[in-house]
Assembly symmetry: C2
Homo-oligomer: 197 residues x 2
Amino acid sequence: MRADARENRARVLTVARELFAERGLDVPMAAIARRAGVGVATLYRRFPTKEALVMEAFTEQFAVCQGVIDEALTDPDPWRGFRTVIEQVCLLQACDRGFTAAFTASFPDLHSEVRDRTWAGFSALVQRAKDSGQLRADFSPHDLTLVLMANGGLAGVPVEVAVAASKRLVAYLLEAFRAGTDALPPAVPLSLDLVLS
Amino acid sequence: MRADARENRARVLTVARELFAERGLDVPMAAIARRAGVGVATLYRRFPTKEALVMEAFTEQFAVCQGVIDEALTDPDPWRGFRTVIEQVCLLQACDRGFTAAFTASFPDLHSEVRDRTWAGFSALVQRAKDSGQLRADFSPHDLTLVLMANGGLAGVPVEVAVAASKRLVAYLLEAFRAGTDALPPAVPLSLDLVLS
DNA sequence: TGCTAAGTGGAGACCCCCGTCCACTTGAGG
DNA sequence: CCTCAAGTGGACGGGGGTCTCCACTTAGCA
């Protein structure tokens, strides 16, 4: 690949990440191209479809999520590990307007290996926190999806506001997650595949 | 207005409500017209713009919300009144995919009188519940908006799933709202005007 | 029954988006 | 410096959305 081409590709990716974060996934490809100082064709040469660009732009974020879970599993305090995952992922989501959409849109395509590993990691985290008596027994791993969707509802306000709102929401929820009091309505297996059906 | 015209208008409105609830606000006007058995022109004669149709289709829902608050104010048990408002409004929202979008989109246009009355009603409800010692002291009326936005994030899955998920979310949140334990991050004045800025 | 204004439906103007095509430009090795 | 494959940008096709225009139909009254 020629040097200038490589540089253009990188710039497109940077710009795409910025715009997706600022305005969500529905920014036109033309806008990305313009801001990156290239033509649309260049963009489509490197990324055969918009979906491909989105996927590429967000793999980094997905890796971060995975890392957050992995690290939390090494935390000696189970509750702190659990709490940190929720807090970090929700913060990531609040900072990036495209995050939720990218996540749900690419979910079926995420290599099942990755998906399973994430899920297994979080489930382990939940089990540890329950065993330590700090997480209520009727918490379900599916509730992570519930939190993600709820937190995703805050997108659409300016980022600083979204972050502040998200922090308060997460604080409320974590308080409710702590071991525990009354019975809840049953857990809902909110597989994200539902979102596109 | 001619009799058949009046009937057509009513049918359009019914169909619009159905489709907005099922598929959200971005159903094409043509789809509404087709399902109502009329042409697009008929539709645009009665409702000069799509926004007007949306507004008209949802005024009923807004009135219901208002009614829920008014009724809750007459409840002798302040906490039950408070809880009922949150539960009812969230249920309404979960059942109707277009509700959130319509609400946020039309918020600036809602006659300020109505807006103020709703706000005053809910604030009174909050105060009563605090005074009775059942609602945590650091709950802010702005948290209603927070709940609405979070609950709105559940739209996009099939209605039955959304309802079940919403019930669980609301149960979690209400548990967190009960008087009271740790300090929270500060309340965020989530005026809905922010959504379109 | 006949008249007429109100009502109607579908074609199409206009706009925005994704993705393609092609004539032109440019980096970099010999 | 010259060559040419790799790279580029803008015009364009196709699809789908909102809203308008206009020739035709019909309700309702005398």
